[in-house]
Every structure is written in C-alpha cells, then in structure tokens.
Amino acid sequence: MTQPRIVTTAPAIDSIVERIGNDVLGVHAADVDAKARFPEEAISAMRQHRLLSAYISASHGGMGVDFQSLCAITEKLGAYCASSAMIFAMHQIQVACLVHHAGNSSYEADLLRKITDRQLLLASATTEIGTGGDLGTSVCAAEVSADGRRVRIDKMAPVISYGSQADAIMVTARSHPEATGNDQVHVLVEKKDVSLDPISTWDSLGFRGTCSLGFHLIADVPREHIQPVPFSQILSQTMQPVAHLLWGSLWLGLAQDAASIARRAVRASARKAEVPPTTQLRLAELDEALFKMRSTLHDAIIRYQNIVTTKSWQKTTAFSFGIAMNNIKLVCSEAVVDIVGKALMITGVNGYRNDHESALGRHLRDAYGAMLMVNNDRIRSHNAAMQLAQR
C-alpha cells in the first residue's frame, strides 16, 4: 500500500500526466540518461497536452492550475524521468515569475498568450561567472540603446540548462551599467534575439538530460522585455520558494519511484519466504523516511499556496520565510539520497545492476544532483548567518 498522494489535481490532468509518464517519459528515460541528450519526446508530449502553460490562467489560454497542483504534476513526472521533470520544473519557475509579477502592459498579456499558444519552453540564466553562485548579484548590465528602445546584455553564464533547446531564456542583469551588483532586473530573451556560444559541455553523473551547459550569451531585445519589478522582489516572492518547492516535488517523485521498486522486490521475496524477509523491516524504515520528506514538503507547499492565494506577498520578505524555503531544499535534497540508498540496500545486487528491472543506478545518480547542482553548503552557510535574524 503506497502512501496517498499529498495533493491532487483535477482527474483529467492527473490521467494525462500519468499517461505521458508511462508512455513517453518512462520509455525514453534510460536513453536520455545514457546519451545525456535533451528529452525531446517528453517535452513534445508536454507541449501536445499543453502542460507547459499549466500555471497560466485560463483567461490567457492556460490550464490555470494552482500551485499545489503544479507541485503534484511535477512529483508525478519525477517518478518517470527526473531529467524531464527537472526541465518541466525549471520552465514552470520562469512561468511563475511571469504570472506572479506581470504588470498591466499589453506586452505581458501577449507574452502569456504566446507561451500558451505556441507552448514556448523557457530557460533561465541567473548565475554568472564571477558571482560565486549568488543569484542576487550580477556582473553584466542591461545597456539601453541610444534611442531608448532596445536593451543589450552580454553575460558569461556557467549554466543555462537546455539553453540550446529553449524558445526563450530569462536573464538577470544589473538594471543599468552604473547599478550595484544586487540592483538587478529580469529580462525575457527570445531565441531570435540571442547568440549562445557554449563555454562548457555537460557530461554529468546525473540529471544528464537537462543539458546544463554554460554559454556566453549576447542578447539584444526590446526594452519592454524587462520585467517591471526589481529582480530582488521576484527572487524572494517567487523564484526561490517556487524553485525549492518544485524541485522538492520532483525529488519526492524520484524517491517514491525508488520506493516502489524496492517494494516490488520485497513483495516478490515475501511470496517465496516462509518467514518475513529482513528487507521488509528495511522497507518500513524507508517508508518512514519517505513519510517525513512528504510531510515536510506538503506543509511548505500549503504555506506558499496560502500566500499566493491571498496575495500576501509581504510574508515572503520575512527572514524566517527565506530560511524555511532554504530548509525545504536542504531537507528534501538530502532525504532523496537517503531514500534511494535505502531502496538500493533492499533490492541488493539486482538494484545495483543496470540490466535488471530493479535497477536503481539512474535514481541514485540523479538523487545526488539534488544537493550538488545548487550546492547545499552555500545555502546552509546563508541560513547559518541568517539564524541571528530569527527569534
């Protein structure tokens, strides 16, 4: 008996996600992983079923699902192919930045409509060489042209996941050439307005399908592509909480799938054994760890959903909120490694093999990415300093 899903989506969306997961993501996951290639089939299926605009309101042509449901979709996808689910999550983080912080311009309304109509895939270029992984600081600046109509950005980005495959990239930059490092804006750059020159390759242990290469990005875009609020506000109200909660959801899906593989193995041996196998006790322990991860994440998702629903954004600027959202990332990224490791101990050598139905190699390699791809030590150091600003 598996634990109930923490949140549910509309049955129709639920079944679409399950079907895509079974028929597409799950089918190609091994090949995507083996070749470290973009999961073209998975993203096409998401486009076909209009999942890329799931979080955009119905008035702009989207599905208008709420944040909790978006987390539930991400979790389901995470159980089939963590790379595809990560791309889905990263795209939705950018969509949420647009949805939560859209002004009243016709450009922004048209943009949301365009994302739904064309099922555009959005990527992100936040980190930059020279800032030590700090999203809240930029070196590059938005340089406005002489006629004031266009903006140029020249950025050395150590990572732009699926940058080559995305239809648009959201880029952070200082708001003008004289601005301080943390006076930033968030700018939408469409493929036709950008040159991307790869500066690294992506042959990683896990999340191989995210194609997280580095690029030298040079963009020249209309000035209205600058989001109308400071990036610091977008970061604290949306990007940080949404990223950590969506990532947590996909890691939960990954952990859940590893648990299911372990559970099948335990069932099979329980049928043959006369006394309950030792692995049954191990499975109970695994289930506790999964229960803890799920409950912690669920609690935080509800907390953020309430903020979104009531638009009480001022709650996100409390230092304690930032610490809590970082805690979610820390707790969930370490829990997923623990749970997949426990599943491997249960399946034994069959899980260790790549040529067995209990294979857990990909799960284990993907799981480690959770604490490394955005380094836990950096987040924890930040939380350590912020402890003094909590009562």
């Binding site: 301080t180 943390n182 600003a389």
Partner: protein, 84 residues
C-alpha cells in the same frame, strides 16, 4: 529618546560602519533603497546587530524582514517603534 534628526544620524553612522554598501552613505537620501545601494542579506544581519547594540533594543520577530532594513527611514521608524 533622541529626536528624529539624531536618530537618523546614528543610523547613518552605524550603516557607514557595518553596512558595506557600494556607495557612500552620505550620498543616500533617507528613503533610498539600501538593497539597491549594495546592502546584502548577510550584511543586513550585521546591521541589525549593530543597530540593536547601539540603541540597546531587540527587533521582534515580526520586524525581522527585508522591508525593515529597506531604507534609513525604515530603520529609524522601526527603532522609534521598539524604543517607544
């Protein structure tokens, strides 16, 4: 308690000592955004501790948020409220 001008001057001094801003504190207006002037969240913690020491007060939980330290005026207002 000092008058408002003194209070603001004390905050400016504290800010100059531990805010590590990218610009001179003297060049800022009381309402300018300190985060735009280079205040980081980590320096906010140092600033908070220094303000607490200077005014012998403690910010309550509900004030421990970014907007409390957004500008010289915001800090002065917070200090005024908790030392009242």
């Amino acid at each position: 308690m000092q008058n408002r001008a003194d209070l603001v001057e004390c905050i400016r001094q504290t800010l100059a000592e531990c805010g590590q801003l990218a610009v001179e504190v003297n060049s800022l207006n009381d309402t300018d955004d300190l985060y735009d002037a280079g205040l980081t969240s980590l320096n906010t913690v140092n600033l908070m501790l220094a303000v607490e020491d200077f005014f012998d007060c403690e910010f309550p939980e509900e004030m421990l948020a970014r907007e409390t330290f957004q500008s010289i005026q915001a800090i002065a207002e917070a200090v005024r409220v908790i030392t009242a």
